[in-house]
């Protein structure tokens, strides 16, 4: 089984950690993978993405346009761009609905996308649309924990269990491990 996972968000949201945890978990589940982090110039607030490619005969670490089986996003505008540029027909978009306005939105030059924009692109691509928003989640740096929990629940990748991911999460996350586990459990989709 070959599949590509494209993860994106805004610098500082924890895209890198999410990708590392997911990558390690897939390896634990027995997959051969290649991953790649891509980040541009700034430390923060620019677009950040990570690519994970799993399966046989994979040699290049980057996912091509319109070739992601899963797009996992931590922010709405990133989710829209991820879905438009990277998502495969019949793929799955899972995103945490946080909002970080780029400067063009703050100055009124551009209109920040609506949820309908996202639903529309998923409709065009015949893709699954799944929005996450956890009420009362105070620390935005834990949104990635919620996202990975929903991904594992919905994607149903053979062998990729919550137990595997939780044990990797405990390895990677430095602060508030218990709080992260609580959020993980809360975000699970039955």
């Amino acid at each position: 089984m070959n599949f590509n996972i494209y993860i994106n968000g805004v610098g500082g949201q924890g895209v890198g950690i999410l990708a590392a945890v997911l990558g390690e978990s897939l390896i634990s589940a027995g997959y051969e993978i290649m991953g790649c982090d891509t980040h541009g110039l700034a430390q923060r607030h620019g677009s950040v993405s990570s690519h994970i490619r799993a399966g046989k005969n994979i040699f290049h670490p980057l996912i091509d346009e319109n070739e992601a089986d899963f797009v996992l996003s931590l922010e709405r505008l990133e989710a829209l761009r991820g879905a438009e540029n990277m998502l495969k027909s019949n793929g799955t978009l899972i995103f945490y609905d946080s909002v970080y306005q780029p400067i063009s939105v703050r100055t009124g030059e551009k209109k920040y996308p609506s949820l309908q924009d996202l639903e529309k692109i998923c409709f065009i691509k015949k893709a699954v649309f799944h929005k996450i928003k956890i009420e009362g989640l105070k620390d935005f740096r834990k949104q990635n924990t919620a996202l990975i929990s929903v991904f594992v629940s919905l994607a149903k990748i053979p062998g990729l269990t919550h137990e595997i991911v939780l044990s990797q999460l405990k390895d990677y996350i430095k602060y508030d491990i218990e709080e992260n586990i609580k959020i993980y459990e809360r975000a699970k989709v039955p």
């Binding site: 805004v10 610098g11 590392a20 990558g23 390690e24 390896i27 051969e32 993978i33 290649m34 991953g35 790649c36 982090d37 891509t38 980040h39 541009g40 110039l41 700034a42 430390q43 923060r44 607030h45 620019g46 677009s47 005969n57 994979i58 040699f59 290049h60 670490p61 980057l62 091509d64 346009e65 319109n66 070739e67 505008l77 990133e78 829209l80 761009r81 438009e84 540029n85 946080s98 909002v99 970080y100 306005q101 780029p102 400067i103 063009s104 939105v105 703050r106 100055t107 009124g108 551009k110 996308p113 924009d117 692109i121 065009i124 691509k125 390895d171 990677y172 430095k174 602060y175 508030d176």
Partner: protein, 616 residues
């Protein structure tokens, strides 16, 4: 999760840069130097996990200093390595070009982090050219695992031939991850004996003394060719039946080509060139002889293509040799789909199905200065001060982002440290338009000093604004020379005085009133003026606070809605990312981002921004 410094054999899912650091420890590189630059700084991050008594590491003032220091150590018999980003080689090149003529008895491997696609660089220069100019062999891995293995090969060849060797990686080898099996580390006591002897030389290439040294360098290239022909660095991948077609590629482009072939289910063989300079011509020619059509797939410039054509011409090999047709194919990275598209110009079996064109509503998110960044405050003050016709010159670092809206500060950018001299040139015989240059402090020590001396001694009519945040922020907060974190700390003002600068002022970047006062004094000053706008990097500060105390919570500001009259200066002109526009047209503070630094408070003409009570 095992640490990269694990003593025993182990397997781990790691990024190319980490694999390189591991390789350095396994082959016991003794001296490692660098200047931070994407895509390579994570090598240093990984090295920091290893026991430091076994090797010496430093971030030097710039790439030239780093290379010279590594070369000096090699002259003493210590296996050395120097790594930096693509454009860093331009800075290092003055000494680099000499090194192949020297007997580097300890060996020296130079890791180049090239950046096809200009992901984080001011160009996408193809450093394979430097190999040819300097007679310096180059190995090019096509994956993180191969980078780990090839680094070791490069070290053993370098020691054996006593010559420097390039290991050229590209951004998405440095930053890609795969599972790699590592060997165990050998723990030993190294003697650090100084083995330098001019008998190993001569080491002074002056006038006609150059020729024997050059001849030796050229001979070494031939020896290198012999060495690689016995190794499996260049390798043919057969796909069952020979249909007369062959692809030649190297580095990550090989990975793209290989996957393009595998996923298109075509039976085309591929020759991977691991040693891209000098080419193992005889063996490559023998391989090509078995094919009728050869496609040379390269990323960036047309280098291998010319050399392959030339070796075929000399040997009367009649294979048709194809390459990229369009100018657009000479730019950017080549992934799997792009490789197929390029192949399909000649080989229709690679044709891709047509994709539906969709109407896209997404737009890019440009990087921004962080909340609390002193550069933003400085730009805000300068923007209020300067007039429309004044010229602003940018340099490299976080502050380069000032060129974007709304500040639009820094209209010209060449290279590290250029701003002061470029500004001085713009100011020549130009009395009408004031010229301002910006420079960060790490860049200042990297390559800004000679330009500063020139401007100072010749009294150029410019204002240099030194944006001092005490670190190399953009690449991940590596210590900058003179900050006091490594070695002695340097007093910037004393240094400027010693360089003969007559007009020096310093203000906290948050202090708009003082900065503007200094700016107007500087404008009236006849000659070169320097203003230091200092404020520590707040991202670094916040991270350090969090590290010291995991429950650290930064303060916040809030907008007093009873005072705010919606002029939106905070949002549109000061433009800290923490301000968000609400659907009802009001402004709100995004508390996920705000660090309560308060630098925005002065920007509000109605004084509606206030520190939030009880936020801490």
């Amino acid at each position: 999760m095992k640490k990269i410094s694990e003593k025993e054999e182990f397997e781990a899912y790691v990024m190319g840069n980490y694999a390189l650091a591991r390789a350095m420890a396994e082959v016991q590189v003794r001296v490692i130097t660098s200047y931070p630059g994407s895509p390579t700084p994570e090598i240093a991050e990984a090295l920091s996990e290893f026991k430091s008594e076994n090797f010496y590491f430093e971030f030097s003032a710039n790439e030239k200093v780093a290379l010279e220091k590594a070369a000096g150590a090699s002259l003493n018999g210590h296996l050395s390595c120097c790594f930096f980003k693509s454009v860093g080689l331009n800075v290092a090149s003055d000494s680099l070009i000499q090194l192949p003529m020297m007997e580097l008895i300890g060996g020296l491997v130079v890791i180049l982090g090239d950046d096809p696609g200009a992901n984080s660089s001011q160009n996408e220069q193809d450093n394979r050219h430097f190999s040819r100019m300097a007679y310096l062999p180059m190995l090019e891995p096509s994956s993180p695992k191969e980078a780990y293995e090839m680094f070791k090969t490069a070290c053993s060849l370098s020691v054996k031939l006593r010559m420097p060797i390039f290991l050229r990686i590209t951004t998405h080898i440095a930053h890609s991850r795969e599972k790699i099996k590592f060997s165990k580390l050998i723990d030993d006591k190294y003697s650090w004996e100084s083995k330098f002897s001019s008998n190993n030389g001569p080491y002074v290439p002056v006038a006609s003394a150059v020729f024997p040294l050059k001849e030796r360098a050229l001979n070494k290239l031939n020896e290198f060719k012999k060495e690689i022909s016995s190794l499996e660095i260049n390798k043919i991948f057969k796909n069952g039946e020979n249909n007369g077609k062959l692809i030649i590629a190297s580095g990550l482009t090989f990975a793209a080509a290989y996957e393009a072939v595998k996923s298109s289910e075509v039976k085309i063989d591929i020759l991977k060139i691991g040693a891209s300079y000098p080419l193992d011509e005889d063996n490559i020619a023998d391989i090509i002889r078995g094919y009728e059509e050869v496609f040379v797939l390269e990323e960036l410039d047309r280098i291998l293509e010319g050399e392959i054509k030339s070796l075929c011409f000399d040997r009367k090999i009649n294979a048709k040799i194809y390459s990229r047709k369009n100018i657009s194919d000479l730019m950017g990275e080549i992934g799997v789909k792009r490789a197929k598209k390029i192949f399909s110009d000649f080989w229709p079996e690679f044709s891709l199905p047509k994709e539906n064109i969709i109407d896209k509503k997404g737009f890019p998110r440009f990087p921004q200065l962080c909340p609390g960044c002193g550069h933003r405050s400085a730009f805000y003050a300068v923007k209020e001060f300067i007039s429309q016709e004044d010229i602003t010159v940018a340099d490299i670092g976080c502050h380069t982002l000032g060129y974007l809206a709304p500040y639009k500060m820094g209209e010209v950018l060449f290279s590290m440290g250029h701003s002061v001299s470029t500004a001085a040139g713009l100011a020549l015989k130009n009395e009408k338009r004031k010229v301002l240059a910006f420079m960060g402090d790490s860049t200042f020590f990297h390559a800004g000093l000679p330009g500063l001396l020139n401007a100072s001694v010749l009294n150029s009519e410019i204002i240099l604004i030194l944006l001092e945040n005490g670190t190399t922020a953009m690449t991940g907060h590596q210590s900058r020379l003179g900050s006091g974190e490594i070695g002695e700390s340097l007093d910037l003002i004393k240094l400027l005085e010693a360089c003969g600068v007559k007009f020096i002022r310093k203000a906290d970047a948050y202090n708009r009133t003082e900065l503007k006062k200094h700016l107007s004094e500087a404008k009236n000053h006849k000659g070169f003026a320097v203003i230091i706008a200092h404020h520590p990097c707040m991202l670094k500060y916040s991270r350090e606070m969090k590290k010291k105390n995991p429950s650290y919570k930064p303060g916040k500001v809030e907008i007093d809605k009873s005072i705010c009259d919606l002029r939106k200066t905070c949002l549109e002109k000061f433009a800290c990312p923490s301000f968000a526009l609400q659907e009802d047209g009001t402004v709100k503070v995004n508390e996920d981002l705000c660090i309560g630094d308060g630098s925005c408070i002065m920007s509000c003409p109605s004084r509606a921004i206030k520190p939030k009570k009880g936020a801490k």
